[in-house]
């Protein structure tokens, strides 16, 4: 490994890092502290699929924004609704630092031109966004008219009554032309995941992700003379071969594996494919420490701990993505729709596999969705709904999923039933194995019960404990059995708090 590390850590990269470190430090000198400096992007928040390269001949952002702004508004005018019915309204949306935000923000003037409604994004890194939203919604202050909603914590928003049921706007013909909105573009599972209680739809997703797909570097596998894995033991064997090979300067495999909640996501796919269950929902007790659960964590911890980078225990989405994108690891358990800024060389070398089957052949995947929701406390729900329809319209989804300008980040095919059929998407979108891994991965997402207890308000609490257990096992701080055994008790306590209506 020392030799591998020696080769992998290049002088140029180190100097870059040193420069950035110094800049960060000096920029912080004499500052006032605090501020939005977190770069951790934990949930499924990807940056870009990296389709297209830096010398791709794409137009500048301003040229592309003008073209797409007009195109989106032309499409919007085909809807049979009065876009100007809330003219003069101002909206504030609480947004995450995310490709969807960075791509749609420059187009906001076109929405104002269409509707007379001005929209401002208040954008925060993810952990700060959750704090801001919690405080705003808990105080019922209504600062935010609408906001980013993530799938895993959204049952909590439903339980607290923080987000409006969108059905009331969808069925209101003065606000929605259902033919134009085309809800059929979304897979049923994508909308069902955000549906709670008596059919209340909390959010319209703009990005869906299946966790635990396998990205592998083709030349690395060729160098060790192995085929693409078709099971988790095979995945471990390939990771071991790459890691120990003298011909490959890469660690075997990476995944997010830190102790933060969403870092449990890829292991959750392994866990479910091993037919393990987080909870006995009837008894409201933790069952993650079953033999199957322990077996799933043992193989995950062995892969990451023994054949991953030395600091794998600190890998969140960002680090995991960076490791694969920079060519530091041979494989990654990852989510196809949320890969970030990879080098073009690595994009070309990478092939994708859908989540692998467990010992008994089960292929189940964990999932994440990002969507927009409307605050319960806004005074402008109608205007917010108009904005959501515009921001999630077909051309906007085509734009956010294909690189249309130099440096544009790309994310998550939510309207996949429509999007995947578009010539532009097929031409400019990611490679076929990527699409296939995403499509098959999404088909593997179970709904009853869901892959993690995301239909309960206690999901984040439960999965935080699970993530800590996973991290303990990956870093060899505890055995898989002890880690899950220790997590069972607090998880049972959280499970006891699940309100009956969510069981």
């Amino acid at each position: 490994m020392t030799d591998n590390n020696r080769n992998r850590v290049s002088r140029r990269r180190v100097l870059q890092s040193l420069g950035v470190s110094a800049a960060v430090g000096l920029a912080g000198c004499g500052g006032s502290g605090g501020g939005s400096t977190s770069t951790q992007s934990d949930a499924g928040s990807g940056d870009s699929t990296g389709s297209g390269g830096s010398d791709s001949g794409l137009p500048s952002q301003s040229e592309a924004v003008e073209e797409w702004g007009q195109r989106i508004n032309e499409h919007a005018r085909q809807a049979g609704i009065d876009w100007e019915q809330f003219e003069g309204t101002s909206l504030i949306f609480g947004m995450n630092v995310h490709p969807f935000t960075s791509v749609t923000e420059p187009l906001l003037p076109y929405f104002e031109e269409l509707t007379g409604i001005s929209v401002t994004y208040n954008t925060f890194p993810e952990d700060q966004l959750w704090q801001k939203l919690t405080l705003d919604l808990n105080n019922e202050s209504g600062v935010f008219d609408g906001m980013f909603l993530g799938l895993w914590p959204s049952a909590r928003y439903h339980n607290a009554g923080w987000a409006k049921d969108l059905n009331q706007y969808i069925t209101d013909s003065s606000l929605t032309d259902q033919d134009w909105l085309a809800l059929d573009d979304w897979p049923d599972s994508a909308l069902n995941a955000f549906t709670y209680g008596d059919g209340e739809l909390l959010s319209m997703p703009f990005g869906v992700e299946a966790y635990g797909a396998v990205a592998y570097d083709v030349p690395s596998l060729e160098a060790v003379g192995m085929d693409a894995p078709s099971s988790y033991p095979e995945l471990r064997d390939v990771a071991k071969a790459i890691h120990e090979s003298d011909d490959v300067d890469r660690s075997g495999i990476a995944s997010r594996a830190s102790s933060t909640t969403l870092s449990s996501a890829n292991w959750a796919t392994v866990f479910k494919s091993y037919d393990a269950e987080w909870l006995d929902y009837e008894a409201q007790e933790a069952t993650l420490h079953s033999d199957k659960g322990i077996a799933s964590l043992e193989i995950f911890a062995e892969m990451m701990g023994d054949y991953g980078p030395s600091d794998i225990g600190n890998f969140d989405w960002y680090r995991s993505n960076q490791a694969m994108g920079n060519g530091d690891v041979g494989m990654a358990l990852h989510t196809p729709s949320a890969i970030g800024p990879w080098t073009q060389e690595q994009i070309d070398r990478t092939e994708w596999l859908p989540p692998l089957p467990g010992p008994d052949g089960s292929q189940l995947a964990s999932t994440w969705e990002w969507g927009l929701g409307i605050s319960q406390f806004t005074e402008n729900p109608g205007a917010a709904w108009l904005f959501m329809q515009w921001a999630l319209s077909r051309p906007m989804m085509l734009l956010t999923n294909t690189q249309q300008w130099e440096g544009q980040a790309v994310y998550g095919p939510a309207r996949s039933n429509w999007l995947f059929e578009q010539d532009e998407y097929q031409e400019l979108g990611p490679k076929e194995s990527w699409n296939e891994a995403h499509r098959q991965g999404m088909e593997m997402v179970p709904s009853d019960p869901p892959p993690v207890p995301l239909h309960t308000p206690q999901n984040m609490d439960i999965m935080t404990e699970a993530a800590i257990a996973m991290n303990n096992a990956v870093t060899d701080s505890k055995s898989a059995s002890d880690a899950l055994g220790d997590a069972a008790s607090p998880i049972t306590e959280y499970a006891k708090d699940i309100p009956g209506e969510y069981l």
Binding site: G313, D316, S477
Partner: protein, 311 residues
């Protein structure tokens, strides 16, 4: 008592060129409170009311994502004290604070003595070098160290591999090493504070005391023990109190570098508090944790102040 009507009644409205305050017939004691009133009002609004509200919350089950508020008395405190997670966090806090402040004190005093021993030409140079880490914000420090220790692009690993020919340690992936890493960063950033405070104390020691010791032939260790140390005792006490108060409340560096991990190995009480408040959204338990943290901090700092006779 201090309304406008009262003040008007006490003012000598006669034709006088004296300043208004001189014409007001109010005792110094009343006037003192009058001047203090704006600050007290602001303090009460910003600190005292939230503090009392925090105590009130700590006696309730107060979920931040629901409208329910249920009186539980000391239930939150009992639940915390009985929880392994809290005890683990308390243990991590003691290790982090004890080791980091202890080492900062030793290194800080040594560096201050070294600084004092330098010629007046070199003192400003070294003083500036010593003070640099302290002027960085903790967030910038955390981000910088996260990059430096990054397994793929980090400079530190590169130097260890290329210059020492060794495998770099698992800076943030092993419980022991991760704790050592955050302690190392804390020492790097906050030793300068102790250096500056102790150095100021050293400068206040009269040179004649050292001259007398030299005349008596006192060895250097005895000079340090019987002259220097007693003279800077209070400065050391102040430095330790400042550092302890800050160390108990550490958040940024640990959050950015280890996230409290691996597992919960570096999850000190303040990190645990954040998770209880903003991940679990349990306002009542978070408030109880905050009160415990406050009481422990006050108790320890008061103990030091009393122990050193600094009241």
């Amino acid at each position: 008592m201090l309304g406008a009507k009262y003040v008007r009644s006490r003012v000598d409205w006669g034709d006088s060129r004296e300043p208004l305050l001189n014409r007001v017939d109010i005792s110094d004691r009343t006037l003192k409170w009058l001047f203090l009133l704006p600050s007290v009002a602001i303090l009460a609004f910003l600190a005292i009311y939230p503090f009392i509200q925090g105590i009130w919350m700590s006696f309730h089950e107060w979920p931040l994502a629901a409208d329910t508020r249920m009186w539980v008395g000391l239930g939150n405190y009992e639940a915390l004290v009985e929880s392994d997670r809290f005890l683990g966090s308390a243990r991590a806090t003691v290790i982090f604070t004890g080791v980091s402040v202890g080492l900062e004190l030793i290194i800080g005093v040594a560096l201050a003595l070294y600084l004092r021993s330098l010629s007046s030409n070199w003192r400003p140079v070294f003083r500036t070098i010593f003070i640099l880490p302290m002027v960085m914000t903790p967030i910038a420090t955390g981000l910088m160290w996260r990059l430096l220790l990054n397994g793929q692009i980090g400079v530190v690993n590169w130097m260890i591999i290329n210059f020492l020919g060794m495998s770099p340690p698992a800076w943030t992936s092993s419980p022991m090493v991760a704790m050592a890493t955050v302690i190392m960063i804390d020492i790097w950033q906050w030793t300068p504070l102790i250096v500056m405070i102790v150095y100021a104390g050293l400068l206040s020691i009269p040179e004649t005391m050292y001259e007398a010791a030299r005349v008596d032939g006192a060895p250097r260790l005895a000079v340090f023990r019987h002259i220097t140390l007693p003279q800077i005792k209070y400065m050391i006490g102040i430095a330790v109190v400042f550092r302890l108060m800050r160390s108990f409340r550490s958040f940024d560096i640990i959050w950015l570098v280890t996230n409290g991990g691996p597992g919960t190995a570096t999850e000190i009480l303040n990190i645990y508090l954040y998770r209880v408040a903003f991940v679990n959204l349990q306002g009542g338990q978070a408030a109880a944790l905050g009160i415990i943290l406050l009481v422990v901090t006050i108790a320890i700092t008061m103990g030091i102040i009393r122990g050193l006779g600094m009241q």
